[in-house]
């Protein structure tokens, strides 16, 4: 019996791989397996090779695997491009229609299943996906009834006949595998899962859900990969709560509309990727200067410019931290798991209103789009804190305005929402006085700048760094952020087996940088590996800058557009110690 394996399905983009993947994985999730998905796709609608890989395990996993156990192929190209990834003795399930060939040098068992022929027999070749699903299930001895339930949900609205035909296609695929001895391969007997009904979602959905739970009721946004799912989620669910989404003309409009809405008192957010973040920088400056809350999600993808729109990267750190002219208070946080995507989104809205400043939630493509199992989300942890809003201000002296930018000890001023009696004040991106009126006097300028910057002094969000440091005297400290955490942990397990002691820190508060929290772990380690998906080591630069020492830092970088594999981190770390 095995406790985990990897399954990949490949073919031409637009061929319906998504539905096979969705049905197969949903069934597995309901059986209690932990799943971790990785989508390889291109920036086009139809055509071109695409594949989805899922890791299936009876224990929590948060990384893609180095190798592959099962490859489901709809064309020879899929085999040619992916068979090398198969472990020795892996299985290829392919459509018999194209006379699949196992490439030379690949040690794999081939099941040429008549996907298309069976599907056509049942009425339409479209159902070849269902045949493939059944074949995959049989190989792992997954009960067909579980698949059938999901098929029914997927096709139920298309009528009974469609459901029955699809279930038949699943059964026929399974039957073929059984008849050919595929259901008794000893190295494919997956242990039974615990039957817990966990969540199965992508990071973008967790962010959308977090936004609704946080009270976000308005989202202006411009479509972009890999952020659009957040917008799509809110388009679907916000109307139930009286809210709405506007697809704006560009990201400048998106961010400034969100700023206008936040000024108006509704919790509003926008989401984009690097190119959109670039356009938003002037708006971010406005939010900083006018002390208007706004939440911006940046789902990082390959840059610069249009870069690698559908590929993994973590290269927007500098843009998120420094991206606007002048100096403003700004918070940048980077969730590292699906659960954190949810909780941190709630936190982002609270931080934005509490500190009256822009908050950037930084994810990366793999975290945003990789579908994975998540633990149940705890509703009791959702707390809405709207900060210093004054609902009924006292009457003002004649000729005076509400002191929206009052000098306070912590720098945070009372906020009043437009429409409130006795609350009239002015808001401007020009330097201003306590009432918001333009004021260029050196004394006021100095005080106002210091007031704004003082707000975030000593800011530490909950779990600003996530610490897994079992060793008082480690051989190596590994620092990472975003989606790489699970991969780092797998590499550490392998290192531990060889007696190499590692500690692991995930930086979640990227800006202001929590140097004091990181310091003691940095000091204890003889060497530090900073793992990040970019070419220059932007996180490493932050550590060096804020800790005042970069002598121990080794940059473990990957910028080819694909996420780290556990073996890659393992090899790099092993070389270091």
């Amino acid at each position: 019996m095995i406790s985990q394996l990897s399954w990949k399905i490949g073919g031409q983009q637009g061929e319906g791989l998504e539905s096979t993947d969705r049905i197969f994985s949903t069934a597995l999730n309901r059986l209690g397996y932990y799943l971790y998905g990785y989508r390889h796709f291109s920036s086009r609608i139809k055509g071109g090779h695409t594949n989805n890989k899922i890791r299936i395990s009876t224990k929590p996993i948060r990384a893609i695997s180095d190798d592959l156990d099962i490859l489901v192929a709809f064309d020879q190209e899929t085999i040619d491009l992916n068979a090398h990834e198969l472990r020795p003795g892996g299985v290829i399930i392919a459509d018999a229609k194209f006379d699949p060939v196992v490439p030379e040098g690949v040690d794999a068992r081939l099941f040429a299943v008549p996907f298309t022929a069976i599907a056509q027999e049942l009425g339409t070749s479209l159902m070849k996906n269902m045949v493939a699903t059944g074949a995959s299930a049989a190989l792992l001895n997954i009960p067909i009834e579980e698949i059938a339930k999901v098929v029914e949900e997927e096709f139920g609205r298309k009528g009974k006949t469609v459901v029955e035909k699809n279930i038949e296609a699943v059964s026929r695929g399974a039957q073929f595998i059984r008849e050919n001895g595929g259901d008794s391969l000893p190295d494919f007997q997956l242990e039974k899962a615990d039957g817990e009904k966990r969540l199965f979602m992508i990071g973008n959905e967790a962010i959308g859900l977090g936004a609704i739970a946080a009270g976000c009721r308005f989202m202006p946004a411009y479509p972009i990969t890999p952020a659009s799912e957040i917008m799509e989620y809110l388009i679907k669910y916000l109307p139930k709560f009286g809210g709405t989404v506007i697809q704006t003309e560009d990201e400048i409009a998106a961010v400034t509309m969100a700023i206008g809405a936040n000024y108006g008192g509704v919790r509003a957010m926008t989401a984009s990727a690097g190119p959109g973040l670039s356009l938003m920088t002037e708006g971010i400056g406005l939010a900083g200067m006018t002390e208007t809350p706004v939440v911006i999600v940046d789902t990082q993808r390959g840059g610069p410019s249009t870069g690698l729109p559908t590929k993994q990267e973590q290269s927007d750190l500098n843009a998120a931290i420094y991206g606007t002219h002048g100096e403003i208070p700004k918070i940048v946080i980077a969730p590292s798991t699906i659960e954190e995507c949810f909780y941190d989104t709630v936190e982002a809205f609270n931080l934005a209103e509490k500190y009256q400043c822009p908050v950037i939630l930084l994810t990366d493509l793999q975290l945003s789009l990789g579908k994975q199992t998540a633990e149940n989300l705890d509703f009791s942890r959702v707390k809405i804190d709207r900060g210093r809003i004054v609902r009924e201000p006292e009457a003002l002296e004649s000729g005076r305005l509400f002191k929206r930018y009052e000098f306070t000890e912590d720098g945070i001023s009372p906020r009043v929402l437009p429409g409130t009696k006795n609350g009239i004040h002015h808001v401007t991106g020009v330097e201003h006085d306590e009432e918001g009126r333009p004021n260029e006097s050196p004394l006021n300028r100095k005080k106002m700048m210091e007031k704004r910057l003082r707000k975030l002094k000593n800011l530490r969000i909950p779990d600003a760094i996530k610490v897994d440091a079992p060793h008082a005297e480690p051989d190596l400290l590994i620092v990472g952020m975003g989606s790489t955490g699970g991969t780092i942990d797998e590499a550490r397990e392998r290192l531990a087996k060889e007696g190499i002691k590692t500690n692991h820190i995930t930086v979640r508060q990227i800006h202001p940088f929590p140097a004091d929290l990181l310091q003691p772990y940095y000091e204890k380690a003889p060497k530090v590996a900073v793992v990040e998906n970019n070419a220059t080591g932007q996180l490493a630069d932050q550590i060096k800058l804020h800790l005042g020492d970069g002598s121990k830092i080794n940059r473990v970088l990957k910028y080819d557009g694909t996420p780290f594999l556990p073996s890659e981190i393992y090899n790099s770390c092993k070389e270091l110690v």
């Binding site: 429409g419 609350g423 401007t428 991106g429």
Partner: protein
């Protein structure tokens, strides 16, 4: 009931004496009082440039934004609070150069706000460069040999973009200007108002006298029907864009807000943000 005086504040505008923007300021104050607003019911969102300062010169909620972005800020504010009367204001550079994309899309979107462009055909605050509204051959600091581009036609643009309310007026005609702003505030939808607001310092061509000579009032055109879009377009072209008054109004198309499913009359900003545990569970169950 508030009077126009209640919309005054004690800030002295930094506009040049004789600037057309003074009249726009006064007209907004009068129109707001005439339609029965209290100062806290009104928010003025402005852009950057001489005209952008207007939000600081009127006693109401004011947001002086960034160059060209008054409209998206104003639309966001309106979405947050439907009860608020929102006026966006800015210059011709703000609305037709850097903010042109927003202008066209705000018109298409038709949210219930009023947009006033203070059109002086020049860049004033930066001391006299060409504007998208400057005429072909117009000599400025940035076009010493004369502009090589033709002037944009705001009214044609608005009509072509699907505007439901289009008006044009002139700083010297306080009565008409106040009237069209009032009508704009009352209009359910996006009210586009272009105002010839002369720059007395940098524009020696499009002066008060020049406008007086060239303007054509819709009231003077026999049989003019502001509900007829084709007629509006024809007359605007015929008058070389100098047509003033309420040029076009479509009262049949409702504002954007009415088309948003589930969007309530009560301001979004006043709604309860907390979900119940049942609502949350329902959302979470979609992922099981």
């Amino acid at each position: 009931m508030a009077t126009f005086k209640d919309f005054r504040n004690n800030v002295k505008p930094n506009w040049c004496p004789g600037c057309g923007d003074f009249s726009v300021q006064a007209s907004i104050q009068r129109a707001a009082a005439n339609v029965g607003l209290e100062p806290e019911d009104l928010a003025i969102v402005s852009g950057i440039g001489c005209s952008g300062r207007i939000s600081g010169y009127i006693h109401a909620y004011g947001f002086h934004g960034i160059h060209g972005r008054a409209l998206p800020i104003a639309q966001g504010l309106k979405m947050a609070n439907r009860r608020l009367h929102v006026i966006a204001a800015g210059g011709d550079g703000d609305g037709f150069a850097i903010g042109m994309g927003h202008t066209v899309h705000a018109i298409r979107r038709n949210m219930n706000i009023t947009y006033i462009v203070m059109d002086n055909q020049i860049y004033g605050l930066t001391k006299g460069q060409t504007s998208p509204r400057s005429a072909f051959g117009f000599k400025t600091k940035s076009t010493p040999e004369g502009s090589k581009e033709v002037a944009l036609s705001p009214i044609e643009l608005a009509l072509a973009s699907g505007a439901t309310f289009v008006a044009q007026s002139f700083s010297s005609n306080l009565k008409q200007l106040t009237h069209v702003i009032e009508e704009g505030l009352k209009h359910d939808g996006f009210a586009f108002i272009n105002v010839f607001s002369p720059c007395v310092t940098f524009n020696k061509i499009n002066t008060y006298d020049w406008f007086k000579e060239n303007i054509v009032d819709v009231e003077e055109i026999e049989g003019y029907d502001p509900s007829n879009r084709a007629m509006a377009m024809a007359k605007v072209i015929e008058t070389g864009g100098m047509l003033c008054g309420l040029i076009y109004q479509d009262k049949t198309r409702k504002s954007y807000e009415h088309h948003v499913p589930g969007f309530r009359e009560e301001p979004l900003a006043e709604q309860d943000l907390e979900l119940t545990e049942e609502q949350f569970e329902e959302l979470v169950n979609e992922f099981r």
